[in-house]
Symmetry: C2
């Protein structure tokens, strides 16, 4: 329920009139008037012809609920006054027998919630006013048709009657009379139908259909307020993060009719093409129709302008209703110039006269958003900063990946999580080996796994896309796929995978290895067979916006990259360095994983060091490759992080195979696997804890980094490697390991006779580390917030296990968003803020960044900008998104600080 006391004040004014060239409200008052009401008021004030009406403020919605779902008398009183205003303006009278005023009653929240709430049209009709309308309009059929429509709508929406019952009565009559279309019904038929309808209403609801127009009005207004809390409205609000307490306004407006003959029409239009952004008047209309007919799709709408008609066989409004069209063009230009953005408008022509019913900012594709933004800068309509604010950063994803052809026919098999965007099509395989084999044979494959582990990396690289049946948006498959810019649908629980039979089962389908499917990683959909995809195009508008973003941001953008390939992609997308290079992924390559395993099962330090010596040249080559690729940009390398058991095989079969390969008894391997087992690996023996107990591991890695750096520096390239130590919880961990790493790097510098600067810093990814950040900063040259693990520990939620309840948490509003996708500002954010402030209390110039998944999320980036981080680091394909998001955050915060 709405909490009236906490969330809003009692409003000064309940009802706002508009129409006839003036209005009590304006476009700025969306909070009270809702989007529709505010824009109707604005258009009125601009002298645009709007059917007169009034808006009951959103604040009344809360009061309505607090008042036991009754309209307060004060509201009714003011509404009646406003109704008189309409009557005066339009020269009709509500409930008048001869010249009755009819009104529409519509919802209108701050944010658009299309179709989610209720609408009632033609209100004010009854058995006497219908005759007045017939007489006045000279169209008896029109009047009676309006009346039967009103009864249908009202009984459904306000009286709670099952709408299909009246629909059945209408169909029965058509059958009985042998009609096909509703328009075949004569005015006599309609009169009979109205009688029939009213009888049914009494039978079903036990109440008479209200004849009193005022009773109708209060009923309709109440119903619109009540429709704020229908299940579908609540679901929509949750989905779009619209707070419950906002409430809806109610708009009561004089009816105008586009269905009063061939000089009448109704239409919707955009001031520019919303799909590609081209600058011409774009839209559709229907002669002799009401608004709902345009949307309903029964008749094919006609194009608005000649330009829009080029690809159509139908005539345009420009040709059919030139006068109204001319007026409409002048209005759309006025509106676009006034709102300084592309508008989505609705209009009706009633017997030649143009009425504007709505204007709002038009939704557009990402490509269109870029084009419109650039054009409007050139037209000097908006500033560069405004242009950046017009583009949704997340939408850029659409532009960076192949997408499903919107025209294509498709059979949906299942829907999982949209884990990594783009589209992919290929033959299904169930193992990484098959993925590589089939790829080798020139096949495109989709790797299907219950879930992926680091050992699946090669298969993931070989595949076009990845489909998993378990795990969330931040599962291994999702994280790695996003890093690769590869399409992934994760956690698709409907699908059952049978590894043994190499089968995938979902509903009635059963697919075998080699069958073709298509994934849409942007929606999470899985389709049967091949669905056509469209390749991405990055044009000059994209480059222009990116450059503008760079000029307007404060945050640096780095990337998470573990190999030269990813590093290259990220640099092409504008990354200014590597914020997170995970060294463990390098351990999984086929030519070294067994050496890693030897290191792990070593019984002594000497034995372990021997294996590490073998790993050293591999690691050195890894780093040389990455350093070269980054051409002097900063590279932050995180030393080994995961617990050692992640590198060991687990099934008996794998253990036996490994035993043969490395000539270590099965029993020894098994007992090592068992002894390394952890109950909660996330909170286990990992990261710097490994290095405290086995210092030689980090020493080898530090040596590999230093030797690589020495080679690069000798080659004449500048380089300042940044070595990062994970899972630090105490200052002493860092001081011990820092000393070891420092000594190793200095040793190498002496051996190689090369000097270079290097930094040693730490991840802040445990609550304790954030709390004692002032102490830790004494030993750290930089901080990087690992917000993935910080979220897991601060909230006590394992991201691998959260699937069973996180959905319920978001849908019940317990968490605003998935905290692994968008940072939990209140909890985790507070720790980031605390860690930054305390760290900088010790070192005012401490470099602070973030390298969790949140580094690529626009909402999180806004937060990171606000707490003064120096950079964010994200997966290569999110770099452009981050650049734009950082610019927007910076522009918005400067705006906020000016206020």
């Amino acid at each position: 329920m709405i909490n009236t006391t906490a969330s809003k004040k009692f409003p000064q004014k309940f009802v706002y009139s508009f129409g006839a060239g003036s209005a009590e409200g304006s476009a700025k008052m969306k909070e009270s008037l809702g989007g529709k009401g505010a824009n109707l008021a604005e258009m009125s004030s601009l002298g645009i012809n709007v059917p007169p009406g009034f808006t009951i403020a959103t604040e009344i919605c809360g009061i309505f609920y607090a008042n036991g779902k009754k309209l307060p008398e004060e509201v009714k009183r003011d509404a009646l006054k406003a109704l008189q205003n309409i009557e005066t303006n339009i020269g009709k009278k509500f409930g008048d027998h001869n010249n009755p005023l009819l009104v529409s009653v519509r919802s209108g929240a701050r944010a658009s919630m299309p179709g989610m709430m209720d609408t009632i049209l033609n209100l004010g009709l009854n058995d006497t006013t219908v005759e007045g309308l017939a007489k006045k309009s000279g169209n008896s059929r029109f009047a009676w048709d309006s009346y039967r429509r009103f009864i249908q709508m009202y009984s459904d929406v306000v009286m709670g009657m099952n709408g299909s019952l009246l629909e059945v009565a209408l169909e029965d009559m058509k059958d009985h009379k042998g009609y096909k279309l509703d328009t075949d019904l004569t005015d006599a038929d309609l009169k009979e139908l109205v009688k029939e309808f009213k009888k049914k209403v009494v039978e079903e609801t036990g109440k008479k259909f209200p004849e009193d127009p005022f009773e109708q009005l209060w009923g309709a207004i109440s119903s619109v307020f009540e429709s704020w809390n229908t299940p579908r409205a609540i679901t929509y609000r949750n989905l779009h993060e619209i707070p419950e307490w906002w409430g809806t306004a109610v708009n009561v407006q004089s009816m105008v009719f586009g269905n009063m003959g061939d000089d009448s029409a109704t239409g919707v239009a955009f001031t520019r093409n919303p799909s590609n952004g081209e600058k011409y008047f774009y839209g559709e209309f229907l002669i002799n129709a009401q608004g709902e007919d345009v949307v309903a799709g029964i008749r094919t709408p006609q194009p608005i302008s000649k330009k829009a008609a080029e690809s159509s066989s139908l005539k345009s409004m420009e040709e059919i209703l030139p006068k109204a069209y001319e007026e409409l063009v002048s209005i759309y230009k006025k509106l676009e110039a006034h709102y300084r953005d592309m508008q989505d408008i609705e209009f009706t022509v009633e017997q030649g006269r143009l009425w504007m019913l709505q204007t709002r900012t038009g939704k557009r594709t990402s490509a269109a958003a870029l084009k419109i933004a650039c054009d409007m800068i050139d037209e000097k309509l908006i500033t560069e900063q405004e242009a950046l604010l017009r583009i949704d950063p997340s939408g850029l994803d659409q532009l960076l990946h192949p997408t499903i052809d919107p025209q294509a026919k498709k059979t949906l098999l299942a829907k999982g999580l949209p884990a990594s965007p783009g589209a992919a099509c290929g033959r299904i395989v169930f193992s990484s080996e098959d993925a590589e084999d089939w790829k080798g044979r020139g096949e495109k494959v989709i790797l299907v796994r219950v879930e992926t582990s680091p050992e699946d990396i090669t298969g993931m690289i070989a595949a076009q896309g990845i489909l998993t049946t378990r795990g969330g948006m931040t599962s291994h498959a999702a994280v790695v796929a996003r890093g690769m810019g590869k399409c992934c649908v994760a956690g698709c629980g409907e699908i059952e995978v049978d590894y043994k039979r190499e089968e995938l089962r979902v509903s009635s389908y059963s697919l075998r290895k080699g069958d073709v499917i298509t994934l849409d990683g942007s929606t999470g959909e899985v389709f049967l067979g091949e669905v056509k995809t469209v390749d991405p195009r990055l044009d000059e508008t994209f480059d222009r916006i990116m450059k503008l973003a760079d000029a307007n941001r404060r945050l640096k953008i780095r990337t998470n990259a573990d190999n030269p390939r990813d590093a290259k992609i990220a640099r092409q997308f504008g990354a200014e360095g590597i914020g997170l290079c995970r060294t463990e992924h390098m351990f999984f390559d086929a030519d070294r994983i067994d050496v890693v395993r030897k290191m792990i099962i070593a019984d002594s330090t000497a034995e372990r060091e021997q294996a590490l010596d073998q790993l050293l040249p591999f690691q050195r080559q890894d780093f040389i490759g990455i350093f070269k690729e980054m051409q002097g940009l900063p590279v932050t390398i995180r030393l080994l992080d995961p617990p050692l058991h992640e590198f060991l095989p687990h099934t008996d079969e794998e253990i036996e195979e490994l035993s043969r390969r490395i000539a270590v008894p099965v029993e020894k391997l098994r007992s090592k696997v068992k002894s390394l087992h952890e109950f909660n690996p996330m909170l286990g023996h990992r990261g710097c804890r490994l290095a405290i107990t086995f210092p030689e591991i980090y020493n080898m890695q530090a040596r590999a980094i230093a030797e690589a750096a020495a080679e690069i520096v000798k080659g004449g390239q500048t380089l300042i490697p940044e070595i990062m130590i994970p899972i630090v919880a105490t200052k002493k961990e860092l001081s011990i390991l820092r000393a070891n790493v420092e000594a190793t790097v200095r040793d190498v510098q002496k051996e190689k006779g090369v000097k270079f600067d290097f930094l040693i810093g730490t991840m802040i990814e445990l609550p304790r580390a954030a709390i004692i950040a002032d102490e830790i900063a004494e030993c750290a040259d930089f901080f990087s917030f690992g917000t993935n693990d910080l979220t897991q520990t601060a909230l006590g939620i394992s991201r691998d296990d959260a699937g069973r309840f996180l959905g319920a948490y978001v849908s019940q509003g317990i968490l605003e968003r998935d905290p692994f996708v968008s940072i939990d500002r209140q909890g985790v954010g507070e720790l980031v803020k605390m860690g930054t402030e305390r760290g900088r209390k010790t070192k005012s110039d401490l470099k602070v960044g973030v390298c969790g998944e949140h580094g690529g999320d626009p909402n999180s980036i806004e937060f990171f900008n606000s707490v003064g981080l120096d950079y964010v680091s994200c997966s290569p394909y999110r770099v452009p998104i981050a650049r734009l998001a950082a610019a927007r955050a910076n522009i918005l915060s400067r705006g906020a600080s000016k206020k």
Copy 2:
């Protein structure tokens, strides 16, 4: 290395003289003088006969290290002045050929570190002074024996020579001469030996033994400073939490000799009996001996007083040296009255003259501590508050459990963690079933498991003690055993358990089911066979101290109890309520676990509710039992906390058995077990998260609590049940569940026609909850900090997995203490403080407690007192400890606030 700049200032004074009735230092200056030096100064000032000497301050230790392990000239200068002082006082001269002054050089840190650092006696002897000593003492053998002892000690300690080489030379001479005892050596032999020793020293060290007494002195002083950093000293410091930067002082003191004939003697004594606290002079001495002989155990020491001689065949000092004894008695009385505490003293009688060598606060058993404290109150020597500060709360554990008879002979098998104190003896069994069976047959058993799970509860109850080979101080076995007050040795990794062969193997032993072992839960030791144990006795001094503690504490003490039995024990120990009643343990009883499982595998809400309906009467009875037992004291009941998979069987065999029992297909069970598997159960679907997805579980529990409360209240007992919701991270979780619980309780009240008050609160056990405690407090009637889980999440350490690195962390000083035993004040403590402050910002009278393991740890209790919690809750057997610790914390904090 010692950080001289950060930790200490450059001292004003380097050297402090004492002796002959005056001193430059005092007992208050332990920080600079160390314990020994401070007390020597104090005794001097009291006019007690102390061999004159001087103390080089602890601050010089840091300077010594900073100065490249060299004594600064200023220090030498002042030491020489102080040496002249000694010469004047004693009438001997250092290095003098006729009447040489000999000195001892001893360490002395702030805290006693017995035997950990170096000592040199008889310093100042060389080839000429030895003759002077011989002449002056009239005892040539004594002089040469002193000389050879000095060479042995000095060459070992200062010159770093392997001490056994000289020992061998001595033994060789004895063999050669046909002697048995050292005392058989004549002065001629000793002269020869000294020559031989000096030769060996040159051979081994390449250096001549220093003849110059001053060179000897500086060498000895430096060596004592260096001995601050020997491995054994470092280990001891880590063990006893003594900071490295404290450093040691060096005491240089004129030698006195208890081995100059039958009118000489040396001894140690306590002013009261340290083992039972009785008030009489207690100690031992040896005629014609040096201090080391008393400790060495070669000769049997004689009792000091007649009273102490009652149980001895030997004569007392009171009889043999009545004059010196009389003087000693007057001194010990003076010292005890002066220090107002029981003293541990050392003395030497040199040719009839009594010299005091040391006084310090005497260590005592817990029983003695209680007795002495009570007696001293009665003697008006100390206040009640001081008495409480004299007793170590942790020591009370000794009094509450049976203990190993200290006299008993025993064979140590292995050593694990002292997980739950007390001693237990019985036949080993390897399963809970066997434990119950054998118990039924009248056998005493020890349950041996790799680790325990909640299903082992019945076996643990049946057993005398529990031994596990895996898991730490806070593993399931440890926590549950402490809760039961039952002896437990945990994580005894040396022992290998073979369930199949029902065997336990350790070193060369192999024990079968039925073999007898004895556990010492206070030390972690496991002994072969039966070792005699001693039962605890709680006498009136215990009661008196407890009452005093109650009168002096602010914190309330509650207990963690899940059943009437534990509740009763805790109440007898003085618990003022239950702070944590875990409902999940109730689910494991044989007669209900299968119903719980049916609930878990239910496919629908209806099916689940059906199983819950069956559980309801069981839970209601549980609560009635506990409420009755607590007789109106507050009872906090935590609703279900662990993830559901904890209740399911895991092995194929168990699953098949369950399948037969509850008639559910094996496949269904297996797939349920699989689907509920979690990667990190600690961070999984548990606590309130279960209730968000399955509200019916908490609703059943709330109903059971309410129905139980209704019955109790109808019976005339007052009761305010406190219902606690675990793992809350957001306000909304609590508000949703609070509403459900509240509605259920109100329903029951209506049904039963009974009214009673009840509280609904939450655990604060996640960092996020502490951060947003102000918001959460809006929905909570109370907070209880779950510091176990808060420690796991704040530090990112799983307590079940920490065993592999926590030891290294504590020994390397990365963590001061095991954070699961004693609260990490800096990290977790900060969250407790933050949570309390923020919670009370919303509700100033919010009741706040703690129910983690830390609630029974004295150091943690001090912290909880300081941040203003209302109560701590601990296992029943720790209630007395907590009562005393709370009083001490309160007294200390009042003292601190007065300053």
